[in-house]
């Protein structure tokens, strides 16, 4: 039963040694060790959080880029469309203008032609009448030179009148 009875000497030594050990280890070992472990854990957590944030930021940036691309594409399309419209407008306008101008010119030309034609006709009329008069004069002259012929003419004229 000796084993079950604590010896005073060992009790005292154990108390002193254990308390001393605990004090020294607590101050010089456990405190820095646990502190360092905690610090490391915190820094790992922080790094992981930062990585997560960076990932989110990356995703956000990618999404933003996509948006920007989309926007730019839409803008380009819009500009192209506008340009096309503008071009069409201009061409249409030009065509219209050209048409009206052409029509105007044609009208002018037509009027001119008409005028020229009129003038030409008038001149032809004048010349025809003059020529007719001259012919008539000449015919009359030749006719009137001979008495019988005058009479024939008169008779002929009278015949015509009668017929009427």
């Amino acid at each position: 039963m000796d084993l079950l009875i604590p010896e005073v000497g060992l009790v005292i030594f154990q108390t002193i040694a254990f308390l001393l050990l605990m004090f020294l280890l607590a101050k010089f070992a456990w405190k820095p060790v646990l502190g360092a472990i905690k610090e490391r854990e915190n820094s790992i957590d922080e790094a992981l959080n930062k990585a997560e944030l960076a990932k989110q930021e990356m995703a956000r940036l990618t999404a933003q880029n996509e948006d920007l691309m989309k926007e730019a594409r839409a803008e380009r399309d819009r500009i192209l469309k506008e340009a096309k419209e503008l071009k069409d407008g201009i061409v249409g306008e030009a065509r219209k203008q050209a048409q009206t101008e052409g029509a105007k010119l044609i009208e002018k030309a037509r009027i001119e032609i008409e005028n020229q034609k009129k003038a030409a006709l008038a001149e032809v009329k004048g010349q025809v009448s003059a020529l007719s008069l001259e012919i008539a004069e000449r015919v009359l002259r030749s006719q009137l030179e001979d008495k019988s012929k005058q009479e024939a003419l008169v008779a002929n004229l009278l015949k015509d009148v009668e017929l009427n």
Binding site: L10, L34, I37
Partner: protein
């Protein structure tokens, strides 16, 4: 309300009672066996020590495994190296006439109170590793002590503060632990924020194990206050369990299987429990949630419970480690019991097997002591909402 702690404590109490019973019966029979063998040894050595020495062959036939094992698990004033080589350890006695010191080798390996050492006018003898004031004259067996009928010395004892084998191991383990953990702490400083390396990487998982699996689940958010104690007690028990398993010089002492050592550790847990106990803890003991008439039964049970918990801690560690040592020693001793060398392979195979289990037990017992300490402290500081 959570009844789990109550059941746990009931189970613990049951375990304690049975451990005590088993311990009592086993040691009782062993003690009787020891007494018988002692009586036998005394009768043979009655003819004188030299005769006994001469008749060594006859002695060997009466090899007593219990006595041998109990002698080896007990504390000692000398440190046996090998064969007949012993290291004498300092003896420090606080006597009625002041402090007396001498080397234990002056007892000339006597452990039966036959050699008297005279110092400062006082005479001392050593019997069963205890130092007594020697009697004036020797008894019929040449022993300078008075024996009672169960062969226990009746003489007065001086207070013994000797540096015994266990004290040496204790101091050695303190030095080893300081060296190990201070160098680990230094590694944390020099390798700040980096991954652990070497000794540091070997011990960090264990430190984290104590923190995350022992302290945090049992102590909650207030765990940090108790970390120094839990870590120290865990590594102290573990290192000394391991040192105890080393069969040759720096190890071999049965420090954590010594009741004085486990008692101090259990008292530390006990003091931490009662000084940190909050009002809920004391209310649970003195004003439990049961009908008033039950107090007659409940309060004494709870009050006894305060003490059985640390006593269970003390007995458990002591019994487990001592039992392991006795088992290994007994297996090794099979050679002497059968008095045949051919039994050696069997005995070695079994001793190696048990030794491997003891390596596990060394860790498990440290773990159990620490987790139960954490549990008891945790129960005392638990906040009820």
């Amino acid at each position: 309300m959570d009844y789990n702690p109550i059941f746990v404590s009931k189970v613990k109490r049951l375990i304690t009672v049975f451990t005590l019973l088993i311990a009592f019966f086993s040691f009782n029979t062993r003690a009787f066996a020891q007494v018988d063998s002692l009586a036998a040894a005394d009768s043979t050595s009655a003819h004188g020590e030299h005769a006994a020495q001469a008749g060594h062959g006859a002695e060997e036939k009466k090899f007593n495994i219990g006595q041998f094992a109990l002698h080896h698990v007990a504390d000692s004033h000398t440190w046996h190296v090998i064969g007949d080589t012993y290291i004498g350890l300092p003896v420090i006695l606080y006597t009625s006439a002041g402090i007396v010191t001498f080397n234990s080798s002056e007892f000339k390996h006597d452990d039966d109170a036959r050699v008297v050492v005279e110092k400062d006018g006082q005479r001392f003898v050593k019997m069963h590793e205890k130092i007594y004031y020697a009697s004036e004259t020797a008894n019929e067996h040449g022993q300078y002590v008075a024996l009672d009928e169960s062969h226990h010395a009746q003489n007065e004892r001086p207070l013994d503060f000797s540096i015994t084998k266990n004290v040496c191991t204790l101091l050695l383990s303190v030095v080893i632990m300081l060296w190990v953990f201070l160098s680990v702490a230094k590694a944390y400083k020099t390798r700040k924020g980096k991954s652990p390396k070497g000794l540091q990487s070997w011990l960090e998982p264990i430190i984290l194990f104590v923190r995350d699996d022992i302290a945090k689940p049992n102590l909650g958010h207030k765990y940090e206050r108790f970390m120094p104690y839990l870590l120290t007690v865990f590594f102290f028990i573990w290192f000394n369990n391991m040192l105890g398993l080393v069969p040759f010089l720096p190890g071999g002492a049965n420090l954590t299987g010594n009741i004085a050592v486990t008692m101090i550790l259990a008292i530390a847990t006990f003091l931490l429990t009662i000084f940190n106990g909050n009002k809920y803890y004391w209310k649970h003991i003195f004003l439990p949630d049961v009908p008033k008439w039950m107090y007659v039964v409940m309060v004494p049970v709870e009050v006894v419970g305060i003490f059985t918990k640390p006593i269970a801690l003390m007995i458990r560690l002591f019994a487990n480690i001592t039992a392991g040592h006795i088992l290994v020693l007994s297996l090794v001793c099979l050679v002497f019991v059968f008095n045949s060398l051919y039994i050696a392979p069997v005995s070695i195979a079994f001793a190696v097997f048990i030794g491997a289990i003891e390596l596990l037990v060394a860790f498990i017992q440290a773990f159990i002591f620490t987790i139960l300490s954490a549990l008891f402290i945790g129960m005392a500081i638990e906040e009820h909402h």
